[in-house]
């Protein structure tokens, strides 16, 4: 049972550390920082289990992987979901479709998204417009294989 509490504490600390590492960055631009923190958290806990002769490394690895995937999915979804953002905007007052779209676009419209893609190194601005970088093309290829 001690191992379970330690694993839970380690995961909570890692999730909190990820938030500090992101510090208002979007997940798409802070993913590497987050990965480093989660891998470090896993390595520390797994090393502790091995050093103290516990047998639960496999169980812990599956639990850790699942927790990371769930955290990553939920965190990214909360951060980028348009539906959730619209619900948040509608807390202020009821809006027509056009007002709601305009309110959303002023918060995270096309220009802001292009800027975020630029910060993430996925697009570059040239004299003749915006172009997708090799990194951006890799992301697109990866996404097309998994859609």
């Amino acid at each position: 049972m001690t191992q379970v509490f330690l694993a839970a504490a380690d995961i909570l600390l890692t999730a909190a550390g990820s938030e500090l590492a992101l510090r208002r960055r979007k997940m798409q631009t802070g993913l590497w920082r987050v990965l480093v923190i989660w891998i470090s958290g896993y390595a520390a806990a797994a090393a502790w289990l091995v050093r103290h002769g516990h047998s639960g490394v496999v169980v812990f690895t599956i639990f850790w992987s699942g927790t990371f995937l769930a955290w990553f999915g939920m965190r990214s979804h909360i951060e980028s979901s348009i539906v959730l953002r619209m619900l948040f905007l509608l807390r202020q007052r009821p809006m027509t479709d056009a007002e709601l779209i305009a309110a959303y676009a002023s918060h995270y419209g096309e220009a802001a998204r292009v800027e975020e893609l630029h910060r993430g190194g996925l697009v570059v601005r040239g004299r003749d417009g915006i172009h997708v970088t090799p990194k951006g093309k890799t992301v697109l290829l990866f996404a097309s294989k998994l859609r």
Binding site: V58, I62, I101, H131
Partner: protein, 143 residues
């Protein structure tokens, strides 16, 4: 390693494989549920002897399925990915069409109701919006 751990590794690997092979969201959910039930049944004899390990592994597999399902949803619906594809010339979905589609989702999930031509939060929408506001504050997401 005990059998339960091998079953857990197998279930985890199969979840990953089904994420790659099964593209439909409902089909993936059905596959995940079948895999979790399969793991639960195959490992049930050892669950009595090692209930804590069994529970932790089950929770890990459930969290994996939930995480992969969310990632699949994002891959299919991400507006930024569509935008990136449009800049690259491989997609044609207009930015505002993507946004407008979400308005239909709000209505389909009964999160808003139309009043005098305006969208107002339904009781369910108010509850979800309150949770969203709390999450934004907790995760320091610009509100």
């Amino acid at each position: 390693m005990i059998d339960m751990e091998w079953f857990g590794i197998g279930a985890f690997a199969l979840l990953g494989l089904s994420f790659y092979l099964v593209r439909g969201i409902r089909s993936f959910l059905a596959c995940s549920a079948a895999l979790l039930v399969g793991f639960a049944l195959s490992s049930s004899p050892q669950a009595v002897a090692r209930p804590v390990e069994w529970f932790v592994m089950m929770a890990g597999l459930l969290a994996s399925a939930l995480g992969l399902w969310t990632v699949r949803l994002m891959l299919k619906r991400s507006v930024s990915l569509h935008l990136l594809g449009r800049i690259d010339g491989v997609e044609s979905v207009a930015f505002h069409d993507d946004i407008r589609e979400r308005l239909n989702d709000l209505r389909a999930f009964h999160l808003v109701r139309c009043r005098d031509g305006r969208n107002a939060l339904s009781p369910l929408g108010q509850a979800v919006a309150a949770i969203v506001a709390a999450c934004y504050a907790m995760l320091m997401i610009n509100g």
